[in-house]
Every structure is written in C-alpha cells, then in structure tokens.
C-alpha cells in the first residue's frame, strides 16, 4: 500500500470511529471519544515518522516530504493532542457534543499535516481549505451562545476572503510559470529572474503578493488583524486552543516553506513585505492591546505581536529559529488557555481582567503558572519566549546576513515596542497578585482544579522553562 496513505490512515480511522460513536451514542462519555482522538493524533505522528522518509515524493510529486515539513507536522499534532487533553472537562461545561467536536479536530489535523507535506499547488489549496473550514466550525461550535455565532460567522466570512485570495494567487503563479509542482516553480522563477524576464515575473509577483496577503489575513498580521480579537472573544476556550496554537503553527510553517522554497527567487519582492508586516504588527498589536480589558482579546493582540516576530524570523531565512519560535509560541498559548480554563468557575469562564483579581491568594499555583507564561510572552530571560525573541533578533543583527534595508530598525522597533507589551501583560499579573479578590466574585476556595487543566498547565510551564534554559528544541 502507498506509504502516504498508511501515514494518513490513523487520522482518517479516528475520524470514522468518532463518526460512528457520535451516531450510536450521541450523549456518550466524553473520555472515550477523547481517548480515541488523542490516540489517533499520536499514532498519526508515529505513522508519519515510520512511513514517510525524508525526501520521498508521492502521487507524482503532489506530496513531498521534507525534514522541516515533518517537524512542523509533529509539532501540530502534538499541540493538537495537548489541546484535546484540555477539552476533556471543558466541553461538558460549555455543553458541546464531545465526539462531534473531536471529529472536526481530527479533520483539521489531517489538513495541517498535509499543509506541511504539500508538494504542489493543488494539494496546498486542498490542505489550506481542510484547515480553514473546520476552524470556522470550531469557532462557532457553541451555537447556543450568540457570541460564538458571531465569532463563527465573522471568521467564516473573512476566512473565505482569505481563501479566495489564496486561490487567486496560486492560479496566477500557475499561469505565470505553467507549473504546478513547487520545485518546478522554483526552477522556473529562478531562471526567469536570472534572465531578467520581466513579463513572466509580473504575473508571478502579483500571485505571490496575493498569497502573502491571504496568509497575513489568516494568521492576523497587522494591519489585517482586526477580526482576530472578536473571534477570540467569542470562541470557546477549547476551540480556541486549536485555532490559536496548532493552526497558527501550520499556516506560518507553510508560509515559511513556500517563501524559503518555491518563491525564494522572488525574495526581493517578499522580504520588504514581510518587514512591513512585522513593523505594523509590533506597533499596532502592542498599542491596541493597551486599552483592552478582556483577557482573550489581550491574548489575541499578543498573537499579533508574536506574528510580527515570526515574520522577522522567516525574513532572516533561519529555519531553526522559526521552528523554535513556533514551538514556544504554541506552547505558551496553550498554557494560557489552560490557566484560563482552570480559573473559570463551574458556570462561567474568566472573561475580564477583573475576574482574575486576587487569584494569587485563592489559586496560588494556577496564578503562578499563568505568571510564568505571561513573563514568557513578555520576554523575561529563562523562558521560551525570551529565547525565541533573542534568536530572531540575533539572526537579524548578524553582520553577514543578506537582508533588506531597515531590518535592523524593525528589530529594534519590535523590542522597543515590547515595552508596551510589558505594560499589558503586567496588568494581568497585577490583578492576580496585587489586588484583592472581588467581594461578589465566584468563590473558588476549595473547589480545586480539574486534573486536565493542572496537568497541561504544569506541562506547558515545564516546557517553557526548559526551552528557556536549554535554548533549543531536542534533536535540532
């Protein structure tokens, strides 16, 4: 049997199992479906490792296995598995059918893996849609909640816009080069650039610009980020854990692989664009975050800020730095959702900053965990966030790097604008430690933290600190 099919089998089988489970026992136990889904993700990763050797191509080059793609796929699957662990308890609280929800997550995981393995334009687009459509569903899953409906609808409408742009870009590139395989496109573009064939390149450049624009939209790079806070605010935390962490990693990874690979000859075009995106994200993300009082919106703006750093990393052509950044960003985001879930009462989630006031006294360990995660976001040494930012800026300041003018200034700006981010991250830290619990707030004493939240939060903090101490991913 084709090894590619074998490698995808666990995810597909898991999907089918869950489909059966959902139709047979619609209100069955949550943990069974969760175990099936997590097993599917883990065995998916194992199958990927076992069946797909690096450099292999399948279906005439439609699937191309690269080392970077594989690492990114592992990362996406791992982050999704951790997010599923979180959902164990939470879905009951927001009254979502667990089996249905996990089915969608498995479909999404399939999309992410293929996004990392895509070898031609068609696979790329199919995988892109397979990531996008389940994301819309996840955002709007809690359909009894009007805010979730709003989030789902907003995400759908704007996401479709991004998909169309992406498809348009792909077809322009195809039109310009007449090739569908990414490797062949690279060769054609490289030859055209060498020959100075302006006519062919014009169309290709427009195509690449469209693709970058679509991805910027998807991962919320400023100034195309205004949908993100609304979607975050309305989406339930379990779905958010998927949308904000593994999906971001997959799409950023795809952007990196496209730009380093097929569109590398056009780097004169895309490097300045990335630079502008990074600068805008640093400034707008930070400044807009100042006035936020909603926790999810704050994390959304911090996602914009981090997107800027990731773009800088892609810009400086440093694969390990980008993967390190993506890994630490994914873990930090998951950790913050775990902390928010642990802080919620049985009835409601924490919503505003005021809701976490005084948590240092009532839930000391959760507060400590979230504090470490926020320090990592802010970039205090000994955390993954610091190591990641340090790596990106270090590469950007390397004297021999071949970089567009202004890279230095933008790196400086990104760090300097971080001053503002310290302010808003410390708003949360202040509320937790320096303020008293509100008198009318939910009584959290003695209620304890459910084990999935405690486990995931501990896991994330341990990973964050050890990435910050050892400063690199294992095996890289």
């Amino acid at each position: 049997m084709n090894p590619y099919v074998l490698s995808q089998a666990p995810l597909i089988l898991g999907f089918v199992f869950l489909l059966g489970l959902a139709s047979v026992r619609p209100s069955g136990r949550e943990s069974l479906s969760n175990i099936i889904a997590i097993l599917a993700l883990c065995s998916g990763a194992v199958a990927l490792w076992k069946f797909l050797p690096e450099g292999a191509q399948y279906f005439g080059g439609a699937i191309r296995v690269t080392s970077v793609g594989k690492i990114l796929a592992y990362l996406c699957l791992g982050l999704s598995a951790v997010a599923l662990l979180l959902s164990e308890d939470y879905l009951e609280k927001v009254r979502i059918q667990g089996a249905d929800w996990r089915m969608v997550v498995l479909a999404l995981a399939l999309g992410m893996v293929n996004l990392c393995l895509a070898g031609d334009l068609a696979t790329l687009f199919i995988a892109y849609e397979l990531v996008s459509i389940p994301s819309y569903v996840l955002a709007g899953f809690a359909h009894r909640d009007p805010r979730s409906n709003e989030a789902g609808m907003k995400y759908l409408l704007l996401g479709i816009f991004s998909s169309v742009l992406f498809l348009l870009g792909l077809s322009f590139v195809y039109g310009a080069t007449g090739e569908i395989h990414l490797l062949a496109i690279h060769d054609k573009l490289a030859r055209a650039v060498e020959a100075g064939a302006a006519g062919d390149l014009g169309l290709a450049k427009i195509g690449v610009a469209f693709i970058i624009g679509a991805v910027f939209f998807k991962v919320a790079v400023a100034p195309l980020h205004s949908w993100l806070p609304d979607v975050y605010q309305g989406t339930n935390l379990a779905s958010l854990a998927i949308i904000s962490s593994p999906v971001k990693v997959a799409v950023f990874g795809m952007l990196g692989m496209l730009l380093w690979g097929a569109f590398e000859p056009l780097s004169d075009l895309w490097k300045p664009v990335l630079l502008a995106g990074a600068a805008c994200s640093a400034v707008m993300g930070n400044l807009q975050a100042i006035v936020q009082t909603n926790l999810k919106r704050l994390v959304a703006y911090s996602a914009v800020v981090n997107a800027g750093f990731i773009l800088l990393g892609i810009l400086v052509n440093s694969v390990p730095v980008v993967i390190f950044y993506l890994a630490s960003y994914g873990i930090m985001t998951l950790g913050s959702w775990a902390a928010f879930m642990a802080m919620g009462s049985r009835k409601a989630d924490v919503d505003e900053i005021g809701d976490v006031a005084g948590l240092g006294r009532t839930q000391r360990w959760v507060a400590l965990g979230l504090t470490i995660i926020l320090l990592s976001y802010a970039g205090i040494p000994l955390t993954a966030g610091f190591a990641a930012k340090f790596g990106v800026v270090l590469e950007a300041l390397k004297p021999d790097a071949f970089l567009p003018r202004g890279t230095l200034a933008v790196s400086y700006l990104s760090i300097a604008a971080g001053l503002v981010s310290f302010y808003f991250y410390f708003q949360i830290i202040r509320a937790m430690w320096l303020q008293s619990p509100p008198l009318d707030g939910p009584d959290r004493r003695g209620s304890g933290v459910r084990w999935p939240y405690a486990f995931v939060l501990t896991l994330c903090v341990v990973v964050i600190v050890s990435l910050g101490m050892f400063l690199r991913l294992p095996g890289m």
């Binding site: 006294r361 040494p381 190591a387 800026v393 270090l394 400086y412 300097a416």
Partner: protein, 519 residues
C-alpha cells in the same frame, strides 16, 4: 581556577533557596494574633539568614580582593537555538566588582536588623520578593556573561515590582502604589530593552556571548557608527537605573511608596546596578565612546548634582531630601566615571568605585534611620515637627553622624571618595568641578537643616502631624550603627585599605591583558 571560585554560585543559590522556603509557607496576612506570631517567627528566621548570607558575601568579596587575578567560574556552554552561538554561564569576582558585592553583604544584615518586622505584619510574600531582588542583585554583580547579566537585571526588576506592589503603602505625598510602581517599571524597561538590543548585537557580532569582560575586544572590531548605537543602548539602561538627570522621574514616588526595607535596598544597592554598568560595561568596554561623549555626559552629571541638591532645599520631608541627595551623589559617581582619563588605572574610576561603596552604606543607614522615626515608617513633615530628639536620643546621634558622613565630613570615608572624583573632574574642567562641589555643599546643607528641624528646637509634632514617635534604638541597634560609623572612620582615615586591592586589580588588567582600563 582559584579554589574559592567554587563558592561563587552560592551567592545566588542561597537567597534562591531562602526564596523557595519562604514561598512554600502558607499565606498569612498577619491580621490575627496567631498569624502575626508566625510572621514574627519567620522574620527572625529571615534575619538570621541575612546575617549568615551577609557574612558569606563579605567573606568571599574580601577573599576575592586579596587574590590578584580574581575568582572566576565557568559553566558548561549552552548553544542558543543554532549551534554557532554559545552562551557560557560564567561568574567572576575581583577588585572591580567585589566592592558591589561587599556592599550588598554589609547592607543586608544592617537593613534587616534595623527594619525587622516587629509587628508580624509581613507574610511570606515579603521575603519571597525580597530574596528574589537580593539574588538578582548578587547575580548582576557577579555575572560574566551578558545573557546572565540581562537575566538578573530583569529579575531584579521583578523582585522590586512584587516587593513594592505587595507591601508598599500609598501615602498622600505620592499617590497610589500602583501608579508609582508602573512608572518605575516602565522607566526601567525603557532603559533595559535597548540594552537588550545592544547585548544581542554584541552577541551577533561575536558569534558567542562575549561576557562583560569581553566587550572591549568585540567592540573594538566594530565600525564607529554601530558601536555608538550599542553604547547608547547600554547607556540608556544604566542612566535610568542610576538615575542620571532626566531619567529620574520614577525616583521619588517609588521610594515613597515602598516598604522601608525595600526603599533602603533600592537606594543602597539597586541603584548601584547602574553604577556597575557605567564602570564595568561602559568605561571598560567602550573607552572611545566614553571619551568622545565625555563633555556632554560630564555636563549632564554636574547638572544632576546641582539640580538634585537644589531640589533637596525645597523638600518638606526627610525622605525626599534623602531621595534627591541620592540623585545628587550618584551623579557625582557618574562624573567620576566620565572624567576618567587615560591612565592604566584612573582616579575617576577608583573614586567612583569607592563612592559607590560609601554611598550605599550611608544610604542604607539613612533610609533605615528615617523609617524608624515614626511607628508607621512614614517620614514626618519637617514643617510640622521639632524636638524629637528628646524621645530618640540614640537614633538622633547616629542619624546626625550618618548625615555628616553623607555631607563628606573629612575623616569619614565619603570625603575620601568624593575628593578622588573631584580631583579627576578637575583635570577635565575646573568649572564643572566647582559647580559639582557647590552642589554637594548645598545637598549637605539641606540634610543638616532637615535634621535640625526634626530633632532639635522646641518639641512639637507627633500630636499635630498625626504620627506616633517610635521607641528609641536599642543598645544592640545603636552598637550596630556605631560599628558602621567605625567602618566609615577607618576607611576615611586609611582609604588605601579599600583602594589598594581595587587599583591592583585594575593595574593587573592593564598589564596582563594589554587592555588599559581606559586609553
């Protein structure tokens, strides 16, 4: 490697362990009798720890000053992300940074004795944040790798943030704790983030972490423009921390809202992080830039010295006078650094190092004494009080001596340090020296006047100004103060006890590595 070097990590690990132990204790607010008792017990344990730790720091610093080549310990290198940048965790201690560590070691037992928690009102979080600050201070002074240096620089800020935020107190003179705190926090970050960029730039140029002692080597290979930017990033970080004039906006309110012990450590030791950077990073790593921008920086320092002193005159509370006299004196320290001239070891640098040590000890004493006047730790209004000496004879005596020390009375150590700085400044510009001395004089006058108003004259105050006068110093506390005064006196009469090991280290560096301290 000298065998004592193996003890260096303990300077950081001991407070870290203390921090963990305090952190494991259950939360107590000290409102009921039982929890106040437990808090008092904890305060005693913390006091014992600070004495042991202080003695350890003093011992290791004095040892390091007697070893000519200094102590140094290097950990295993960690590659950062990619394999070509290696961060080596390294600690060092020699005549240049030992004064800073010695200062920390002497201040901690003093401050924690004079300002110990008698009422049992401080829970474990007080000591957790205090120890975080203390271990970071030790870390900043000891680190010989820039990444570690930055790590401790930021954790010091975190320690101060939580110490002030959790145990600070709002008063009518400086508004809410948080508004003062966030200003302090953001001010410091305005300095430390550009410093981070400079550190990353140096690492990128070197391909490894060059360490505090390797900056000169890397920086001398850079072109002038780039080096100037890196220099500026560092300068901003240190200028805010010290602070220099124009970067002092956080100073007064932060000290006002802090808990008394925190305030004393901030002024005595934390402000020395800035001085450490000026001496060990800027003067040592960027001699050309120091020389090129010396005229402007000197003027800034003298302006700070005069302006701080003038502000002292306008204050109506002892604590505010102390705050601004601190601004004035630290500007003189910076003046010493920026007037250092082209010798292997220069009067300016040694004077600045000596002043750092003196100023730290004096400020620790002054802030502690000031907080002991009233039971609440608040500084009384000068205009509403008088004649407090009747109830606090011993406190008044040692406070007056400390004020004299701060005013550079000949025979006390501060005089020796200040005169070295002024000698160095005189070579650059007699006029600036004249202005700086006038500033020092005004500051001294303001301090003495403040003492006069509070302690002498007709008794008035506590009843009118609404505070309760605290009990006088005990015999033991007075004895401790007298011992400190004896240190000032000995160093004032025999400054070479301090200066000799420092100059020897500087000479050693100049001769041994072919790198003059300054060109």
């Amino acid at each position: 490697m000298h065998s004592f070097a193996a003890y260096l990590p303990f300077a950081i690990l001991l407070p870290f362990a203390a921090m963990l132990l305090h952190g494991a204790a259950p939360v107590r607010d000290g409102r009921d009798g039982r929890s106040a008792d437990r808090n008092r017990l904890q305060a005693r344990a913390a006091l014992v720890f600070q004495w042991v730790y202080g003695a350890f720091l003093a011992w290791i610093s004095v040892m390091a000053m007697t070893v000519p080549e200094g102590l140094r310990i290097v950990g295993r290198g960690v590659p950062l992300g990619r394999t070509d940048l290696v961060v080596e965790p390294a600690l060092y201690l020699d005549g240049r940074n030992a004064p800073f560590l010695l200062l920390l070691g002497l201040c901690l037992p003093l401050i924690f004795t004079w300002l110990r928690d008698r009422d049992g009102k401080y829970g474990p979080s007080y000591y957790v944040s205090a120890n975080l600050l203390i271990l970071s201070l030790a870390g900043v002074f000891l680190s010989d790798s820039l990444v570690l240096f930055y790590l401790f620089w930021e954790t010091a800020l975190l320690g101060a943030y939580f110490w002030i935020g959790l145990h600070g107190r709002a008063n009518i003179h400086s508004g809410s704790v948080y508004s003062a705190l966030i200003r302090f926090f953001l001010f410091t970050l305005v300095g430390s983030l550009p410093m981070l960029v400079s550190i990353i730039a140096l690492c990128a140029e070197a391909g490894k972490d060059p360490g505090i002692n390797g900056i000169l080597q890397i920086a001398s290979t850079l072109d002038g423009g780039k080096r100037a930017w890196i220099f500026a990033g560092f300068l901003l970080g240190f200028a805010v921390k010290l602070p220099l004039l124009g970067f002092h906006g956080w100073l007064r309110d932060t000290y006002n809202v802090s808990a008394p012990a925190c305030r004393a450590i901030l002024s005595a030791v934390m402000s020395k992080m800035g001085a450490y950077g000026l001496i060990l990073v800027l003067a040592q790593g960027f001699p050309e830039e120091c020389l090129r921008y010396a005229p402007q920086l000197q003027v800034l320092c003298v302006m700070g010295a005069v302006y701080g002193a003038l502000l002292c005159l306008a204050q109506d509370r002892l604590i505010d006078i102390l705050v601004y006299s601190s601004l004035s004196h630290l500007s003189l320290v910076a003046l010493g650094v920026f007037t250092a001239t082209g010798e292997v070891y220069s009067t300016g640098i040694t004077g600045a190092l000596f002043q750092v040590f003196n100023h730290g000890l004096i400020m620790a004493a002054l802030f502690a004494f000031d907080a002991r006047i009233s039971t609440s730790g608040e500084s009384p209004l000068l205009s509403a009080t008088g004649g407090l000496r009747a109830g606090q004879r011993r406190l008044a005596a040692v406070l007056l001596t400390a004020i004299f020390a701060s005013a550079s009375l000949p025979g006390l150590s501060n005089f020796a340090g200040e005169i070295l700085v002024l000698f160095s400044a005189f070579r650059s510009s007699p006029w600036l020296t004249f202005l700086a001395s006038v500033g020092a004089l005004i500051g001294a006058a303001a301090l003495v006047r403040g003492f006069h108003q509070v302690f002498l004259g007709k008794r008035k105050g506590p009843e009118v100004a609404g505070f309760t006068q605290a009990a006088d110093f005990s015999i033991g506390e007075t004895g401790l103060a007298v011992a400190l005064i004896a240190v000032w006196l000995i160093l004032g009469l025999f400054p070479m006890l301090f200066l000799h090991p420092v100059e020897k280290t500087l000479l050693n560096l100049g001769a041994g590595h072919g790198m003059a301290f300054l060109p």
